[in-house]
């Protein structure tokens, strides 16, 4: 199927933006500019952009510890994301949460967090709220392949089914839970079949194909809006870097990583398709790469120049402060 040129270019641009963001942030973390660590999503762009391009800006997402790609695809400006990684006061969470706690609740980003499998429950609750309030939108809960082995994920899936909630569960399945290979710890080794066991439409799809991710998410969204309840999508993808910055794992071969990078890279695949279809010229593509790089450079500059949070604010935001309860 031929890709719509305008949609295709924007989709590609977003994937490039995420890739550049991640590779830049990774280097800055190694250099100590970004304090602590971060979870690089390079390789997983098509899942984030494929899902988000099928959503309405009003739709809600809740995500995981590895969420830069979801957050950028959801529309948070990269300078705000970068500033949060730098733990600056201008970051989306004021530097209090950093890489794992990107959120913008007002704009439908119900946040990432550092607890495995927690995002699906939060998204399921968002879907419950959407249904009760009669809104015409959906919620998307992201979980990793590690999270599909936690009980809480399946409690949430079951509730979404029995309450017929407008929820889409996306397994951003990069195949390694930290350093543990998914097949080694996943009984039955068919995550979509588990979903199907709860009585909802359940698919395993190619998470490196942004159009396939988009199509499945769109169909799921239509079912959800039609009151038909949740959908479960297991998107097979791959992360190119370690679980955390600087990790030099020996749990997978260099050949395996190289194979995914050279044969299944979501950006290479999609850009080649657009170019072969005439929707994009090589010159357009190079201009796009340069413009994205400039955008990330500006984001780094913004983050570097932003102030750190003032120590006097340390107690702000622990609670609503309505009772003055600060002790």
């Amino acid at each position: 199927m031929t890709t719509d040129s305008k949609w295709g270019k924007e989709t590609l641009r977003q994937m490039l933006l995420i890739r550049n963001f991640e590779e830049t942030a990774d280097k800055l973390t190694l250099r100590g500019k970004v304090p602590g660590g971060m979870h690089n999503s390079s390789g997983q762009e098509a899942v984030a952009v494929g899902v988000m391009s099928a959503l309405d800006p009003k739709d809600v997402i809740a995500t995981t510890h590895r969420s830069h790609h979801h957050t950028i695809a959801k529309g948070m400006p990269v300078n705000i994301v970068m500033a949060e990684l730098f733990t600056k006061a201008t970051g989306c969470s004021g530097g209090r949460g950093a890489s794992m706690h990107l959120a913008d609740v007002e704009n439908g980003h119900f946040g990432g967090n550092g607890i495995v499998g927690a995002g699906v429950g939060i998204a399921m609750g968002a879907a419950l709220g959407i249904k009760q309030m009669g809104h015409k939108k959906v919620a998307v809960g992201f979980v990793g392949d590690g999270g599909v082995n936690t009980g809480r994920t399946w409690e949430a899936v079951n509730m979404a089914v029995i309450y017929k909630l407008p929820l889409i569960i996306i397994v951003d399945n990069n195949q390694y839970a930290v350093e543990t290979f998914v097949e080694r710890v996943t009984g039955g080794n068919d995550i979509a079949k588990r979903g199907a066991g709860f009585g909802l439409p359940s698919f395993t799809i190619d998470g490196q194909d942004v159009e396939e991710v988009h199509k499945h998410t769109s169909e799921a969204r239509n079912r959800a809006l039609a009151g038909e309840g949740p959908t479960f999508i297991n998107a097979l993808t791959y992360r190119y870097y370690g679980h955390n910055v600087g990790e030099k794992g020996q749990y997978r071969t260099q050949e395996e990583i190289a194979d995914w990078r050279s044969h299944r890279d979501p950006i290479d695949r999609f850009s080649a398709k657009l170019i072969s279809e005439g929707a994009l010229t090589q010159a357009d593509y190079e201009a796009m790469i340069n413009s994205v790089a400039k955008e990330i450079e500006e984001a780094v500059d913004f983050a570097e120049k932003s102030p750190l949070p003032d120590v006097s604010t340390i107690l702000d935001g622990v609670d609503s402060g309505l009772l003055g309860a600060r002790k």
Partner: protein
């Protein structure tokens, strides 16, 4: 007994190795404890990692996957399994990657591990150790930085240990593994690379015995885990000002060696408790109230607590650094207390 410098991390590794050698019932289970359960056909996959801090590195090579089990991300499942395995006669040592993740298995710990001996008539043992990682200062955000010693010490039926150095870590972990009851063994992530002299042979430090890390007669400072080191650094500065601080490391928080603390307070008359945890309903407030109850007459001034703040641990470095009590703050508190000056609490 031959001793050598060993890191806290390696001392824990050695305790695990020696107890596993000595007792075939001891096994480890936790996320990535084997070092990433990669595919067997990949070179290096059998012992790649040993957890995020490398604490269990090498153990799978010696003891095999049957006794060093890479669990999935399912704390409720594997902590629950450890209770059953302990009943069945094994000696499980579970690892929860960060103490914060204990939340996921809290029900298993709170309602089963802690209570079943009592509720089943006081006969059946649950010889279970749950090792986990505490502490702030690692730029790891609010769900990877908590102490939580207080929460577990609140629960009857659990023993809670939080060593401040490699020597104590080895001896106390050996005791924990040999203990017939469930033990929560807290390892501070900022202490892993710190060295001290550690004997090569196995040795056991009794659970529930505190330790005087520095003798003094001007003021008693009780440090909680890493704060023991902060207190010792402060004591060196105070010494130059003629203040001889006595530094106590409780080491075990349940049971707590309150007698040792009270004896010290009876000698010094002043007590400062330094804990990086939140201030309310905490191990620091518990020690304070017990000392008031037992040794009030010895006090020459109010007991003070220098703690973390009543806020989740913030990520941004200036905020996180402010959150953790500093050496300078300990010095300031001690000098003011001895002079009888009023100290405004920072929380």
């Amino acid at each position: 007994m031959t001793s050598r410098l060993l890191t806290y991390k390696d001392a824990i590794n050695e305790a695990l190795r020696q107890e596993m050698q000595a007792d075939s019932r001891v096994f480890l289970i936790g996320e990535d404890v084997a070092g990433g359960a990669g595919r067997d056909e990949f070179p290096g996959a059998t012992d790649a990692w040993g957890g995020p801090f490398g604490v269990t590195k090498g153990l799978v090579t010696e003891f095999g996957r049957e006794r060093v089990i890479d669990s999935l991300l399912a704390e409720t499942g594997f902590v629950g399994a450890c209770i059953g395995a302990a009943f069945a006669g094994l000696r499980p040592v579970a690892e929860i990657m960060y103490a914060d993740f204990l939340g996921t298995s809290f029900d298993q710990i709170l309602n089963h591990a802690a209570k079943l001996r009592f509720t089943y008539g006081g006969i059946s043992s649950i010889p279970l150790v749950i090792r986990t990682v505490t502490g702030a200062g690692f730029r790891a955000a609010s769900e990877h930085s908590q102490m939580l010693i207080s929460i577990y010490s609140h629960v009857p039926g659990l023993k809670v240990i939080a060593p401040s150095n490699a020597f104590d870590a080895k001896g106390l972990l050996i005791s924990a593994i040999r203990d017939p009851d469930p033990v929560i063994f807290m390892e501070h992530k900022r202490l892993y690379m710190r060295e001290s002299m550690v004997p090569e042979a196995p040795y056991a430090i009794p659970i529930g015995k505190g330790d005087i890390k520095r003798i003094g007669n001007s003021i008693t400072i009780v440090g909680v885990q890493k704060m023991v080191n902060t207190a010792l650094d402060a004591a060196n500065i105070l010494e130059k000002e003629g203040i001889h601080a006595e530094v106590i490391d409780p080491r075990s928080y349940s049971p707590l060696d309150i007698e040792l603390i009270c004896e010290s307070v009876e000698k010094t008359g002043f007590l400062l408790i330094v804990d990086e945890s939140h201030p309310r309903c905490s191990i620091a407030s518990d020690i304070s109230s017990q000392v008031v109850d037992r040794a009030f007459a010895s006090l020459k001034g109010p007991i003070k607590m220098l703690t973390g703040l009543h806020t989740p641990v913030p990520y941004s470095p200036p905020l996180e650094d402010f959150f953790i009590p500093s050496v300078n703050e300990v010095v300031r508190y001690c000098t003011s207390m001895i002079k009888g000056e009023n100290i405004v609490n920072r929380y």
